[in-house]
Amino acid sequence: MMVRTPMVGSLNKRDTARGASDQKVRLVDRWRSYRAHHRTTFSTTLQKMAREPIQTTLTVVVIAIALALPSAMFLALHNVQQLSSGFESSAQITVFVKKETNSQQVAQLGKQLDDLPEVSAIIFISADQALEEFRALSGFGSALQYLDENPLPAVFLVQPAMSGATDLKQAQQLVKAIDQLAAVEDVQVDMKWIQRLATITEVSKKLVLAMGMALGVGVLLVIGNTIRLAIQNRREEIIVVKLVGATDAYVRRPFLYTGLLLGLFGGVMASILLLGSFFWIGRSVAVLADLYQSQFQLAGPGLAGILALCLLGALIGLVGAWIAVMQNLRAIEPK
């Protein structure tokens, strides 16, 4: 065999030149190669993922669905809250005045209502005004001419001072107080259902949060399992690099990157799903809101929400990979 000696020669030269410090690698070189290893690990991880497109896609889709589902529900509930808070501020108490009340008594009732501390504003609609309004809006105007007298009572619209639904008790007391006033026929308040809705949304939010956490654990397990398989597939490689002096961090790195990237891609895909369905549903909601002459607009996830979703995916991926690595890597030692 032809064995020339340049390598041996260089070994000699180095030995005399650097002596015992020959084994040492300069710190700056180490830092540089540390970063280089991060870079190469990053790109080889991407390459490995691209080489198994079906496996990678399946994992990413599972993660994406698990992230998108609770996010979408949370967003929906957020919108319901937005919508109902709009109702809350417009919560009114309708006070119907007894038919046989004369104008003096009506004026007195108006003053009594205005004097109540919980009332911020009142609007009076006389029986004639009510009739005019009915004639204009209902479309049954022509039917009214067959009536002998105005069937409609005079009405006070009372705007309570507090913020509606959250202070239902206060509202109830106010209703009771108004009911006891003379010349009051009936009091109607549309606050109960608003409060029920608000409570239901609160409860649903908690349920969605619990579901989100459960799905988050699911994502953790999916990624953990993927990483565990990857570790087993690369058992030989792990043993070899450990034998030639790789640190635990070096061995861990490709698996942590795999988890991080799977989670990140899952988060990105979840964002795409979320935005897609948002625009899809948003258009119908706009039409619906238009029919109700409402200014309501579907609130989207926003840039911050999208970023948070992607970061959350990446974080869960990293944590899942870390757990799998901690459980499985120690067991692989050269024997």
Partner: protein, 225 residues
């Protein structure tokens, strides 16, 4: 350089692989470790690679007690030794060059120096032309030489080899041994475990003999350096 002081190794199974082994290898010395299969040759090498820890006794490398080396320091210790494995332990998902570069990459050498050193090591084992090949496409002897190049690329002070000529014909074995002698000539301490008696007898080197875990001959008198 390497000193075994009353080293015993008992496995959890109860097997006593090494019994009170004593020997010392000077820096730059080359020795063969012989004995039948199961005599404890592999165990002795595993202790030196820190794949196993001795049950009792002291293992000194360059005057440092290896028993006291914590788990986290094992990687940096392993970077200072070179190991040639019987089954090569090459990675089939990368080229010959990348296999040889692995120890340098792990130790954090700059890439320019890595390239230079890898090519020098491959040149040394006569495989410079095959750096872009996959190890699986090489013959057994070539794979073993790639393994040797990887073991010496970071210029270790100690080179360990476990049956490096195990599956090779006599001509190839002789070539591999010639390689080892060259490393010895530049001051590397070398310990080779082998049962290839014919080969050893043709060379004039220290021969240690293990029999059933006992070092029956430490070969110090036949030191042929």
């Amino acid at each position: 350089m390497i000193r075994f002081d009353n080293i015993s190794k008992r496995y959890p199974s109860g097997l006593e692989a090494l019994k009170r082994v004593n020997f010392e290898l000077e820096a730059g010395e080359m020795a063969f470790l012989t004995g039948p299969s199961g005599a404890g040759k592999s165990t002795l090498l595993k202790l030196l690679m820190l794949m196993e820890r001795p049950s009792s006794g002291t293992l000194l490398i360059n005057g440092k007690n290896l028993n006291r080396l914590s788990r986290s320091l094992i990687p940096s210790y392993r970077r200072q030794i070179g190991v040639v494995f019987q089954n090569h332990q090459l990675l089939s998902d990368r080229s010959v060059f990348e296999n040889v570069a692995l120890p340098l990459q792990i130790s954090g050498y700059p890439s320019s120096e890595t390239g230079r050193r890898v090519r020098a090591a491959l040149d040394g084992v006569g495989l410079l032309g095959k750096e872009s090949h996959n190890p699986l496409t090489l013959s057994g002897g070539e794979q073993q030489r790639v393994g040797i190049a990887r073991a010496v690329v970071h210029k270790p002070k100690i080179l360990l080899a476990d049956e490096p000529t195990g599956n090779l014909d006599p001509t190839l074995s002789a070539e591999i041994m010639a390689l080892f002698r060259r490393f010895q000539s530049v001051g590397v301490t070398i310990l080779i475990a082998t049962h290839d008696i014919n080969l050893i007898n043709s060379l004039d080197h220290r021969i240690m003999h293990l029999e059933d875990g006992i070092l029956t001959d430490d070969g110090a008198h036949s030191n042929g350096r």
